[in-house]
């Protein structure tokens, strides 16, 4: 072996960086979250109360389920924008089954199965006709919504029979100020993060998102993985829909409208790139928090309703700018 001690390699000279648990993107967004919390507590005496923070958490819970799915789909290099409609459809199915006196287990199962099947359809169609999932889900966004509207005949499915004890307890109760639904969401998020970071599946998912052709060549099943992750996204959207029935005692066929954009915004703020291969669930949660805090502050500040969307937009820009600033200070090339 020739001596190569003197061969300079690129990493020499550069300080060997410590690997952080949080990457750059999460760091930027963490700064944003803290900043908004400081602003919140300085501008409103109600912001930092337990009740208020609990309601912020409650407020992001239903969207949160969707974000976990959408986040994973983005990491795998696809985009899912049908989740809002899946949420609505699953909740309508569950509510209709309850109304027609199906047992609770079946009704819950029906809602979850609806989500799963919708997600599978997205995935299988996208792979079958070789079109990016964003196109397919743009289409199914309308189709699933139409099915929900048709099933519910255009109006909310209300007047459910007295809900089974368990469902009511689960939907209305909680531990201290944190509702059970929020806890379920956090459990789902933690599981997703563990799988993503520390298991072979998460590893493959990110590799596939980063360079699908290379992943194919190394023997990863790109198509199957993408079908499965889209199915998962449908499943958690369905779960969110089912939970919303427990929470609201009713299901609106237009429920979840607009969630697709909010979920995309939260995941992107959270550092999940649109081109796949990057991101973490922690980041997604932080992105969600930004969205939740803003919605809360808009009301606490009494912002004119005309400006509601505007403020969210400005905050999104602010968050991206912060992320950019932190990234730039890290001096990363490109």
């Amino acid at each position: 072996m020739p001596t190569m001690d003197n061969v300079t390699t690129a990493s020499e000279g550069a300080v060997p960086r410590q690997r952080r648990r949080l990457g750059f993107d999460e760091l930027g967004i963490l700064v944003a979250v803290v900043l908004f919390m400081v602003i919140g507590s300085l501008t409103s005496p109600y912001f930092l109360t337990v009740n208020n923070l609990a309601s912020v958490l409650q407020n992001i819970t239903f969207l949160g389920f969707l974000c976990v799915g959408v986040g994973l789909v983005l990491m795998a290099g696809e985009i899912d924008i049908s989740v809002g409609s899946i949420f609505g459809l699953a909740s309508v199915v569950t509510a209709l089954m309850l109304k027609n006196d199906f047992p609770l287990v079946l009704a819950i199962g029906g809602g979850l199965a609806t989500g799963l099947i919708c997600g599978l359809i997205n995935g299988i169609l996208a792979q079958a006709i070789k079109v990016p999932a964003v196109v397919i889900t743009l289409a199914t966004l309308g189709v699933y919504r139409a099915v929900a509207l048709a099933l519910a005949n255009g109006s909310p499915v209300g007047g459910l029979p007295a809900l089974p004890e368990f469902f009511d307890w689960f939907g209305q109760g909680g531990i201290g100020p944190i509702s059970f639904i929020t806890i379920l969401f956090l459990v789902v998020a933690v599981i997703a993060e563990v799988v993503l970071r520390w298991t072979s599946s998460g590893y493959r998912l990110l590799a596939i998102g980063s360079h699908p052709h290379a992943a194919t060549l190394i023997g990863f099943r790109v198509e199957r993985t993408r079908v499965l992750v889209l199915a998962f996204s449908g499943l958690v959207a369905g779960l969110s829909g089912v939970c919303s029935v427990a929470y609201l005692n009713t299901a609106g066929p237009t429920g979840g409208t607009g969630y697709e954009l909010s979920a995309l915004a939260a995941t992107i703020i959270g550092g999940v790139g649109l081109s796949g291969g990057r991101g973490s669930i922690v980041g997604v949660l932080l992105g969600l928090c930004v969205i939740g805090i803003i919605q809360n502050l808009i009301v606490l500040w009494g912002v004119s309703p005309n400006w509601t969307q505007g403020v969210s937009g400005l905050v999104l820009i602010a968050a991206m700018t912060l992320t950019w600033l932190t990234r730039r200070n890290e001096g990363r090339a490109h």
Binding site: M1, P2, T3, M4, N6, V7, T8, T9, A10, S11, E12, G13, A14, P16, R17, R19, V195, W198, T199, S200, S201, Y203, R204, L206, A207, G209, S210, H211, H213, A214, A215, T216, L217, I218, G219, G273, G276, G277, R278, R332, A333, H334
Partner: protein, 498 residues
């Protein structure tokens, strides 16, 4: 030559793309413990054969067997299971993931949701990199690494996978000599463990140094087979490209008296206190190993990397903030990575070349297709690609031919100063000689050419003057006749020359 049952047996494989027959009845058999050189001109079918081995292409007919068991054609999983590990000619890395994750990807637990053993992972990855003699921070994003280190990471991934048959398609094309030596060491140690290696390269000296046997492909057919010891470079070359006089392009013997065309003074990340002058009509070779700053110097001149200092072009100061500033001043930069930085793989050859002509036009000027095609045709002839490839998508050309299209495109930018970074990467011997000749012709026309190559010997062949870099600084500068291969390597690596 032992005639045990071969570890890898390729029998009568044919493969066509449309009407074009890329492989025609190719057979190959490789024993355990053997390093087998696979040679051929650009477009001969080497990568296609490797595609068949890896399962990326399903063969039209014929079969592949590993250790006596046939593997299903066109199945990447089957090939991997059978123990084939492939390094592709084009990099197949996950740019967003770390070095460690990229390398470990080949030995991930197959089961879904299996926890990845982290400690074990770090150790295995570092062991493999050590074996290659590479010092790479395993936590860095692969996308941020220079090309040569990406190539090493890809090799490390194949080595790590524990396959018994290692197939390397031009693994050294962007490696410097010491890096290549590290690879050869690793190859020898794995074949000693009852494995076999297929090695593709256009650097024939490497092939003769490393391999036990050699197979030459020509137009998709096996043209010759030798035990390495029984043949020589001339015979192999003739089998590859037919007869041709192998000559060294003569560099100018005396230092040029021509006026200075360009002076660069300054720094950039990785390059310190540079003071470089290029004379008109001069061919200057920038020599340096990985990380020496050579690429960065090229990028500084090309307007890709901002210069902290001054650039002086024939007496006027230049501000290079964007490649367009350089191009307007007649400085044309050809990037080393044709895929990432050069070509539109999904567009036609004609389009790729014509882009340079379009770049010169004003906004909203009218395009005439026939004019553009004419331009492309002329350049194709110049770099030796058949003009009937005009409407072919560049991505379908073989690696070497892609490289030539890139060169043609840069000629179309009409340089006064031409910067060629690793300019003959993956080009076959004959074409390489022709490109060298082309460079000389350009220089005689008064064009200044500044080139770099991971093959240091090539610089001595072509350049009038060689500037040596180490750790971002110029360590030597003189006429190429003042160096030989060994002293040059010594200078750039800092090891006292013999």
């Amino acid at each position: 030559m032992t005639q045990a049952s071969p570890l890898l047996a390729v029998q009568n494989v044919s493969k066509s793309f449309g009407a074009f027959r890329a492989l025609d009845d190719v057979s190959l058999s490789i024993a355990a413990g053997e390093v087998h050189g696979l040679l051929g001109a650009n477009g001969a079918g080497k990568s296609t054969l490797i595609g068949v081995l890896s399962g990326a292409h399903a063969p039209d007919s014929g079969s592949v067997a590993v250790a006596g068991t046939a593997i299903k054609g066109g199945s990447l999983q089957a090939a991997r299971k059978a123990g084939l590990a492939v390094v592709h000619q084009e990099l197949m890395m996950f740019p967003d993931r770390s070095v460690e994750e990229n390398i470990f990807a080949s030995v991930l637990p197959a089961a879904p949701f299996a926890f990845v053993p982290w400690k074990d992972r770090r150790q295995r990855v570092e062991a493999v990199l050590d074996r290659l003699g590479a010092h790479i921070d395993v936590r860095r994003r692969v996308g941020d690494l220079p090309l040569s280190q990406q190539q090493i990471v890809e090799i490390a991934r194949a080595l790590c996978s524990g396959g018994r048959v290692l197939v390397l398609d031009e693994p050294t094309s962007s490696l410097s000599q010491p890096e290549a030596e590290g690879l050869f060491e690793a190859i020898r140690s794995i074949v000693a463990k009852d494995a076999a290696v297929i090695f593709v390269s256009h650097r024939l000296d490497e092939v003769f140094k490393l391999t036990d046997r050699i197979t030459v492909l020509r137009d998709g057919r096996v043209e010759g087979r030798w035990a390495t010891a029984d043949t020589d470079i001339a015979a192999v070359t003739e089998a590859m490209v037919g007869q041709y006089a192998q000559h060294r392009v003569n560099a100018n013997a005396a230092p040029l008296k021509a006026p200075v065309a360009l002076t660069l003074r300054g720094s950039a990340p990785g390059v310190r206190d540079l003071d470089l002058s290029l004379r008109q009509g001069e061919v200057v070779g920038l020599a340096g190993l990985e990380g020496s700053g050579v690429s960065t110097v090229m990028e500084m001149l090309g307007g890709v990397v901002p210069v902290d200092g001054s650039v002086d072009l024939g007496g006027t100061a230049l501000r290079l903030r964007h490649p367009i500033d350089a191009i307007r001043a007649g400085i044309v930069y050809m990037p080393p990575d044709r895929k990432k930085g050069g070509l539109w793989l999904d567009r036609s050859v004609s389009d790729n070349i014509a882009t340079a002509a379009v770049g010169r036009m004003r906004p909203f000027s009218w395009l005439r297709k026939s004019t553009l095609d004419g331009i492309a045709e002329k350049r194709l002839e110049e770099v030796g690609v058949r003009t009937n490839a005009l409407y072919e998508r560049v991505g379908r050309l073989s690696g070497g031919n892609q490289q030539r299209v890139l060169l043609g495109r840069n000629l179309e930018s009409r340089p006064r100063i031409l910067l060629l970074s690793d300019f003959t990467r993956g080009v076959d011997v004959k074409a390489k000689a022709a490109i060298h000749q082309l460079v000389r012709t350009l220089a005689n026309e008064g064009i200044t050419v500044c080139l770099s190559s991971s093959d240091l010997e090539e610089l001595l062949d072509v350049a009038d003057r060689v500037v040596c870099f180490r750790a971002g600084r110029v360590v030597a500068d003189g006429p190429s006749t003042g160096f030989n291969k060994l002293s040059l390597l010594g200078t750039v690596s800092g090891v006292a020359a013999a």
